[in-house]
């Protein structure tokens, strides 16, 4: 893959990876293909990796994404979120301008994709957000061999090792057993994390109804409609306080410290996130039961993936770029931070929408 093709037109000859994909204020721009990947400002043609709101925004002209990602955008923004849309399946190859584009599973959330952009003999893979850990709610991550790998670095420090999510769910269930008179409130990002936690609870044999904060209902039902088995799900709205003793409710992180929690009997506040690995982070948020469950690759996952792609050059974006760039260099890989702005980490950001909607959710 790394062998460059010499000959052909001078134009192709001069094609460097940074000419194929270039960071711009609007996002990662593919000039020869005439599109942006996950643009943060409205553009003519957008290719979207996954449905999280910092990557999938409304107001673009044409949007190319997986069917699930398009559906999620429609759920969030309404039918007119873009002028036109085109659904693409994993493994399907499309010609866009002078490049070919191919979507591969990213294992991050339902419908999430890495986007391989090839121009002549050079292939650049923009991974969006990804994880190599098992997740019953989405298609498993796939390593895509390439010349340049663009990796996220949300958990790009060697202190972040997520471990087995099933152990964290055991911890939650042990707490529910020890405090049957209290409600357990699990903060989890509405898209992806919440459904994964539910699926993990089911896999652990928990078959009682699981309650949901109002803002999560639509997206969770969507997961179910795509064949993800989540068991009995109930809205928490309208439940009597006493009846919530011994139950598990999922809510957006910001709602777990909100007035909304007053409807629960002496709630135990849990939070499912990779950030929970760091004690100060958990304490700051007033979390009583931190659950280290992440939809991003941990340090070991990031470094193993980088090596598996065979890429000789690594571009590092959103997160702890410095440490990962440093590590790449110690491995003899060319690496640089990619200055892209506008991408948050879904668990870390203040999700104020949830708290404003929560009054009655």
């Amino acid at each position: 893959m790394t062998a460059k093709n010499h000959g052909h037109t001078p134009y192709i000859n001069n094609m460097r990876p940074q000419d194929i994909l270039t960071p711009q204020p609007a996002g990662l721009c593919c000039k020869p293909g005439g599109f942006h990947i996950d643009p943060v400002r409205p553009v003519a043609r957008a290719v979207i990796t996954h449905g999280h709101s910092d990557h999938a925004r409304a107001g673009h002209g044409a949007v190319l994404a997986t069917q699930e990602t398009l559906d999620m955008m429609r759920l969030r923004y309404g039918d007119n979120f873009a002028r036109s849309t085109q659904a693409v399946a994993y493994g399907e190859e499309l010609r866009l301008g002078d490049v070919t584009v191919k979507f591969h599973p990213a294992g991050h959330v339902l419908g999430s994709a890495q986007i391989a952009v090839s121009c002549e003999n050079t292939r650049v893979v923009a991974s969006g957000d990804y994880k190599d850990a098992p997740d019953p709610t989405c298609t498993p991550f796939e390593v895509v061999p390439c010349d340049v790998f663009i990796t996220e670095a949300t958990f790009g420090l060697p202190i972040f090792r997520h471990g087995d999510a099933a152990d964290q769910v055991e911890k939650l269930l042990a707490s529910v057993a020890l405090f049957p008179e209290r409600a357990h409130l699990v903060g989890a990002y509405s898209l992806g994390k919440a459904q994964r936690v539910i699926a993990l609870l089911r896999a652990a044999g928990y078959d009682a109804p699981i309650y949901l904060h109002g803002v999560m209902e639509k997206i969770t039902h969507y997961y179910q409609s795509r064949g993800v088995e989540l068991g009995e799900i109930r809205p928490v709205k309208g439940m009597k306080k006493a009846d919530l003793a011994g139950t598990i409710t999922l809510a957006p992180p910001s709602a777990t410290s909100d007035v909304w929690t007053r409807r629960f009997p002496d709630p135990v506040t849990a939070f499912a996130s990779g950030w929970m690995r760091v004690r100060a982070r958990a304490r700051q948020g007033g979390i009583e039961l931190p659950l280290v469950i992440s939809d991003h690759a941990d340090w070991d996952g990031l470094t193993a993936t980088i090596q598996a792609t065979g890429a000789g050059e690594i571009w590092v974006t959103h997160g702890q770029e410095d440490a990962l760039v440093h590590w790449c260099k110690t491995q003899g890989l060319a690496a640089r931070p990619l200055d892209l702005v506008g991408y948050g980490d879904e668990d870390g950001g203040e999700d104020e929408t949830a708290s404003t909607e929560s009054g009655d959710a």
Partner: protein, 559 residues
Amino acid sequence: MNRFAELLDRLAYEPGRNNKLRLITNYFRIVEDPDRGYALAAITGALSFKHAKPGLIRDLIAERTDPTLFALSYDYVGDLSETVALMWPKSSERPLHNNPPPPTLTEVVTTLRTLGKTEMPRQLSRWLDDLDETGRWALLKLVTGAMRIGISARLAKTAAAALGDKDAHEIELIWPGLSPPYLDLFAWLEGRGEKPVNLDPAPFRPVMLAHAIEDADFANLNAADYIAEWKWDGIRVQAVSGRDAQGQITTRLYSRSGEDITGSFPDLLPSLHLRGAIDGELLVVRDGRVQSFNVLQQRLNRKAVSPKLLKEYPVHLRAYDLLADDETDLRDLTFAERRERLEAFVKKLGDPRIDLSPTIAFDSWERLAAARRDPSGAGAGEDSEAVEGVMLKRRDALYLPGRPKGQWWKWKRDPHVIDAVLMYAQRGHGKRSSYYSDYTFGVWTGAQDDAQLVPVGKAYFGFTDEELLQIDRFVRRNTTEKFGPVREVVHEPDQGLVLEVAFEGLQRSTRHKSGVAMRFPRINRLRWDKPPREADRLETLERLLKGPVLPEPAESGSD
């Protein structure tokens, strides 16, 4: 070790006392001997071994990780043990299967006791290889002696007692005779063995505590049934002397929760040369005058006591009860009878460092109220600065552990009160995590026409549930800025919330911008009626200050 680590981990995040108890009791229930006994010892601070220095931990991680990655990680986490626990690389030489089981707490504790200094690094790295993240964190906290998890010895004993439906007092009574891993204690708690006997010649006896009296209580109380004393602003101690098997006098000082604090007060021990158990107040007395609590604080929570400290802060015991006289247990006598025995005992000791807590003469509640208002005119004289109210004890009260109803009352002097302005509010923890319940308040300083608010304290109780709701609503509607869990609340001369803050005392502080620190501040009243411009000024507080600048106080517990 991993189960102990899980317990510590969970306790570190759990704010509620009862929930902490549940977690610890549950651990004692599911974990077998001797692991649980060593856990009890670790929590109560009863383990002793040479602690590992942070430098050793740094060396271990430096051998295994890239220095740049370590620096970035340490910078992010901010805690050495935690960074090392999280970064520790999985040992690659180790086969994936047939790993040795991780070390038990027993293995760790017993090994540490005998481990030579040179063997420490290798042993520690072997354990770190075998444990998971939480296990490594707990191990490092344990070996560096930095296990601050907010669990008192008393709470751990209460949790153990719950295992056998016993009272924590019973464990405190026999505790000095027990040692890790407490096999006999657990056997008794689980009904498999006899109650262990305390063979300590100078055992602790659980203390009797007083209820705070309310105005309405007086209607049902008869002044003639009570003896009154000053409530001294020192620390409650129990001084016990006994004879050991060799006939030697052994003397111990205990805190009110039964912790042995003998080592901090060697200057008092020679005075306690008669067998017996005195309940009293530890005070600093200079030139015959009782010093304030601020002065006494110089002697608290110190492991080593310098001769200079002993000379400048001489401690003194003001005796108010006698629990044992020679061999005889007096706790079944009435207070009036014990008081007589105490008077004789103190006289026999004949030591200027130990004196009797004087009684206050009164024949009606009105007379006592007058004495409380003006202690110096009612017998406390120049010591009145160190009086924080009066104590009422029923003449016929037996010495009962805990806080029995209607026997002893404390009637604290009225607190100082100021009007301050709410400046910042922070979300609480546990049950209060959805409420802004921790308040930083300030008073005015600077010229009248250009006055600024300067924070003078923080309070998170004193208000009713209804008032909490009102303040919470006010905070949410009047936020000017957010800093994570903290909100800045509007505090302008004409806009803001005035809080009437009550506090027990004031001292100079180098830590606070205002230069003062309040003791025991709480929200007394909400002054919705008062515009912030009419709140108090810093000068009002400064007038209350007397005495020298003192370094930050050690943890206190005065009643």
